[in-house]
C-alpha cells in the first residue's frame, strides 16, 4: 500500500511537470506537425511569391528519338514538337511558345538537355519534362534489370569464423526499425532517468529522504520510486508510440507498407522487449545511485544529456560499423556488457547470426545486473542517505580512484 502511495506521488508530481509536458506532447507534435504545417506554409509562401506559370506551351526537339509524342504530358503546359532548333527558335521569337527543350542526338553520351527561353519557365515545367524523359527511358529497360537496379546490391557478410551470415532481404528495414525504436526508448529512458537523479538528489538534500526512510523500508522506497518513474516513462513512450503508430498507419496507407503487423510478427520482438526493459531499469538504477552520491542536485539533465551523447556514439558504432564486422571481439563483448547490450545485441541480431549462447548470456547478465543493481542501490541508500558525502567532482573521483588503487596494491602485497 505504501509502495502505491510513493508510486502515485512520484508519478503524479512528474507527469505534471512543465518540462515533462512540453517534451512529451511537444516532441510528437514537433515530429508530425512540423513537416505538415511547414510544408503547407512553404507552399502558400511560394504560391504568393512566385510569378504565375506562363500558360503558353513549350517546344521540344527530340533528336535522340527518346520520347513518344503520344505519351506527352500536358500539365502544367502543353508540349509542341519541332523538327529542328531553327523552327523552334522562330516560334519562340514570335511568342508562340515560352521556351523550347532540345534533346541532342548525343544524349546517351552527354546526358544533356538544352533549354532556350526569354524568361525561364517555372520549375514545374522542368520537372514535367524530366519526369517524362525518365519514364520513357525506364520503359526501354527490361523490368528485371530495372528491379535489380532499384533494389541495389545485397552484400553478404562472411566472417572467417564462419558465424556470420547473409543479410536477409529485409535487413535494412529491420536495422532501421531497431535503431529507431532503440533511439526513442533510450531518449525516453534518459529523460526520466534524469528525473530519478534529480528526485533522489533533491530528497537527499532537503532531507525528505530521511523522513521517508524512517517511515518505509528502503526496498519499499526504491520500488515505489522506480515504479512511479517507470510509469512516467511508459506514459511518455505511450504518447510517442501513439504518434509513431499514426505515422506508421499513414505510411502504410500511402506507401502500402504495413510496418505494425511486421513489427508484431517480428521474430526478435521478445528479445527486444527484454533488452530494452532491462536497459531502461539499469538507466534508472544508475541515475538513482548518482543522485544518492549527490553529484549536485539539479544537474540531472546536464548529466543525462552527456550520457545520451555517449549513447549516440554507441548507436553510431552499432549502425555504421557493426553490420560490417558483427562478430568481432568488440562486438561480442559489447553485446554481453549490460550497459551496451541492448543496442549492440539487437543490431547484431538483425545483421548477423548471433549464437544462442550469446543471446542467453547477454540477457542473463543484463537482468542479473538489474537485480544486483537494486540491492546495490539499497545499500547505497542506507550508506549515503544522510552521510555528508563529498560532492562528486573530477578531482574527488581521481583522488578516490588513487586511494582505491593504493588499497588494492596493499592487499595484493
Amino acid at each position: 500500500m505504501r509502495i502505491l502511495t510513493i508510486f502515485w506521488r512520484e508519478y503524479w508530481s512528474n507527469i505534471t511537470r512543465r518540462s515533462y509536458l512540453i517534451f512529451t506532447f511537444g516532441f510528437p507534435l514537433f515530429v508530425i506537425a512540423l513537416p505538415v504545417v511547414g510544408g503547407i506554409a512553404l507552399a502558400l509562401v511560394l504560391q504568393t511569391l512566385l510569378p504565375a506559370t506562363d500558360p503558353r506551351p513549350i517546344g521540344l526537339i527530340d533528336q535522340a528519338a527518346l520520347l513518344s509524342p503520344a505519351n506527352r504530358p500536358n500539365n502544367p503546359v502543353d508540349i509542341v514538337f519541332f523538327d529542328n532548333p531553327a523552327i523552334a527558335a522562330q516560334s519562340l521569337a514570335d511568342g508562340d511558345i515560352q521556351a523550347y527543350y532540345h534533346i541532342p542526338s548525343d544524349y546517351w553520351q552527354s546526358g544533356q538537355v538544352i533549354i532556350t527561353y526569354q524568361t525561364a519557365p517555372a520549375s514545374q515545367v522542368d520537372k514535367m519534362v524530366t519526369n517524362w524523359l525518365e519514364a520513357e527511358i525506364r520503359g526501354k529497360i527490361p523490368s528485371s534489370v530495372l528491379a535489380r537496379v532499384d533494389a541495389g546490391p545485397i552484400i553478404t557478410h562472411q566472417g572467417i569464423s564462419g558465424e556470420s551470415a547473409a543479410f536477409a532481404e529485409n535487413n535494412l528495414l529491420e536495422s532501421i526499425m531497431v535503431v529507431v525504436i532503440i533511439y526513442f526508448v533510450r531518449l525516453a529512458g534518459s529523460f526520466t532517468a534524469s528525473y530519478m537523479f534529480d528526485t533522489i538528489a533533491n530528497e537527499s538534500q532537503d532531507r525528505t529522504l530521511e523522513i521517508l526512510i524512517t517511515t518505509v523500508t528502503p526496498l519499499q522506497l526504491v520500488a515505489g520510486k522506480f515504479l512511479g518513474l517507470l510509469a512516467v516513462g511508459l506514459t511518455q513512450l505511450g504518447m510517442w508510440l501513439g504518434a509513431l503508430l499514426i505515422l506508421t498507419l499513414g505510411a502504410g496507407y500511402f506507401f502500402g507498407v504495413n510496418l505494425l503487423s511486421y513489427l508484431l510478427g517480428w521474430e526478435h520482438l521478445g528479445l527486444m522487449l527484454s533488452a530494452l526493459a532491462a536497459t531502461y531499469i539499469l538507466d534508472h538504477i544508475l541515475a538513482a545511485g548518482m543522485g544518492l552520491k549527490r553529484i549536485s542536485s539539479g544537474s540531472g539533465h546536464l548529466l543525462f544529456n552527456s550520457a545520451n551523447m555517449l549513447m549516440t556514439v554507441i548507436l553510431l558504432y552499432a549502425f555504421y560499423f557493426l553490420p560490417r564486422n558483427p562478430d568481432t571481439f568488440l562486438a561480442v563483448a559489447a553485446s554481453l556488457f549490460p550497459l551496451t547490450a541492448a543496442v549492440v545485441l539487437l543490431i547484431r541480431i538483425v545483421t548477423s547470426e548471433v549464437p544462442l549462447w550469446q543471446v542467453i548470456l547477454s540477457q542473463l547478465l543484463m537482468w542479473g545486473t538489474v537485480i544486483g543493481g537494486v540491492f546495490w542501490l539499497r545499500r547505497l541508500l542506507e550508506a549515503n542517505l544522510v552521510a555528508h558525502a563529498e560532492p562528486m567532482t573530477w578531482p574527488v573521483l581521481f583522488k578516490n580512484g588513487i586511494a582505491g588503487l593504493k588499497r588494492l596494491v596493499i592487499r595484493a602485497k
Binding site: 506521488r9 532537503d206 525528505t208 530521511e210 526512510i213 517511515t215 544522510v386 552521510a387
Partner: protein, 330 residues
C-alpha cells in the same frame, strides 16, 4: 506489594558508532520513559544526530543495543514514531496540505483521516490560510510548524524532534510547546534536541549531554542543576559582608544581591548561621543559587574541550562544579 517500573520507550545501551576513522558516538547509554520529555543536548558535532539516527534505525550501531517501544525497531514500531529532522524534511514544491496528507498516508493513515487531522493541526497552529501554499513560499517559522505537524500527524507514541523551536517566535514556540506537553501528558515520550536551553529547562524532565560522542552528564533537570549549584549562595539584603570561613569569593552584583562562592566542603547552613548572628548584614533572602542549563552546558563543554575529563564506568563524567561566570538565583 510489588511495584513495576515502566518499560522504557527508548533504551540505548553502550552504543558506539564510527564513520571511517572518526568515532561519532562512544559508549552512549540512556533511557527515555513514557510520559517523559527528554533533552538530548550537546554542542554541534557532538553526536546527537547520529544517536537519533541510530534510534531511528537509519544507521546501525557498531556495538551496543537500542530498543525502541519495547523491542528492536520494526516497521510496526516505526509507525509509532514521529520524527522531525532539524530544518527541511518537506517537499518544497508541494502544497502544504498535500505534503502533510502524503506523509500521513506513509505513516499508515487513510487519505481522508490524514486530511482531517492535517486540517485540524493547521488550524491549531494558525496555518489554515496557508494550506494551499507551496512549502517553498512559506516563512521559516511557518515551515517549522508544518514540520511539527508532519511529525505528530499520526499521534506517535514516541516523538523525536531536532530543534523544534528554531525559527519560532515566542507565540509560536508556545503553540509547539503545548503540543509537546500534551503528548507527555498522554503518556507518550518525546526526545528533543535544542540549543535553546532555557526552553529545554522549562520543558524537559531529563537530559543527557553528549560531547565528542560521549555522555558527559545526565539526569533529571532539577537534580542536575542542584548538583552544579552546591558551592554558590545567593543573599539578598543590606549591610556589609566580610570574608567568612568556607567562603572563597564574594561578588556584589546589585545593591541588594550578593553571591558567595564556597569551598567544596563548606556547609551553607553554617554560613547562614554565621551571617544571621552578625549585626553587619540584614538578611532578607537566602537561597542556594542554581545555575541555568546554559551555564552548566558552557562549563562542561569548555572543560571537555581541553584534555578529556575523567569518566566513570557509566560513561558520565565526574566533573567538579566550578564557580560559574554568572549565577541565576531560584
Amino acid at each position: 506489594m510489588t511495584s513495576t517500573l515502566p518499560v522504557p520507550f527508548v533504551s540505548v545501551r553502550n552504543v558506539r558508532k564510527t564513520f571511517g576513522s572518526k568515532e561519532a558516538v562512544t559508549d552512549v547509554s540512556f533511557e527515555v520513559l513514557p510520559g517523559q520529555v527528554f533533552g538530548l543536548l550537546g554542542p554541534n558535532g557532538a553526536g546527537k544526530t547520529t544517536t537519533i539516527r541510530m534510534i531511528l534505525d537509519i544507521f546501525k550501531p557498531d556495538s551496543g543495543t537500542i530498543e525502541v517501544l519495547g523491542g528492536s525497531i520494526s516497521q510496526a514500531r516505526k509507525d509509532r514514531i514521529g520524527y522531525m529532522p532539524e530544518e527541511r524534511g518537506l517537499y518544497p514544491h508541494m502544497r502544504v496540505l498535500d505534503c502533510l496528507v502524503y506523509l500521513g498516508k506513509l505513516k499508515g493513515l487513510t487519505g481522508l483521516e490524514a486530511r482531517r487531522r492535517a486540517v485540524a493541526f493547521l488550524e491549531r497552529l494558525e496555518l489554515a490560510g496557508q494550506h494551499r501554499q507551496k512549502i517553498e513560499t512559506l516563512s521559516r517559522g511557518m515551515t517549522q510548524k508544518v514540520q511539527v505537524i508532519a511529525a505528530v500527524l499520526h499521534y506517535p507514541d514516541l516523538l523525536i524532534i531536532d530543534e523544534p523551536f528554531a525559527n519560532l517566535d515566542p507565540i509560536n514556540a508556545q503553540l509547539v510547546r503545548d503540543i509537546i506537553l500534551e503528548l507527555r501528558d498522554q503518556g507518550k515520550a518525546v526526545i528533543m534536541t535544542s540549543h535553546q536551553l532555557n526552553l529545554v529547562e522549562a520543558l524537559c524532565d531529563r537530559i543527557v549531554l553528549i560531547h565528542h560522542g560521549r555522555v558527559v552528564l545526565q539526569g533529571q533537570v532539577a537534580e542536575v542543576r542542584r548538583r552544579f549549584a552546591r558551592n554558590v549562595l545567593h543573599l539578598s539584603g543590606s549591610g556589609r559582608l566580610d570574608l567568612l570561613p568556607g567562603v572563597t569569593h564574594i561578588e556584589r552584583r546589585t545593591a541588594a544581591d550578593w553571591y558567595l562562592t564556597l569551598l567544596p566542603e563548606a556547609d551553607p547552613q553554617t554560613i547562614l548561621r554565621t551571617i544571621v548572628s552578625s549585626d553587619a548584614f540584614v538578611l532578607d533572602k537566602f537561597d542556594v543559587a542554581l545555575p541555568s542549563l546554559d551555564e552548566i552546558f558552557v562549563q562542561i563543554v569548555r572543560e571537555q574541550s581541553g584534555p578529556a575529563g575523567p569518566l566513570d564506568t557509566s560513561g558520565t563524567a565526574t566533573l567538579e562544579p566550578n564557580p560559574l561566570p554568572t549565577i541565576r538565583s531560584t
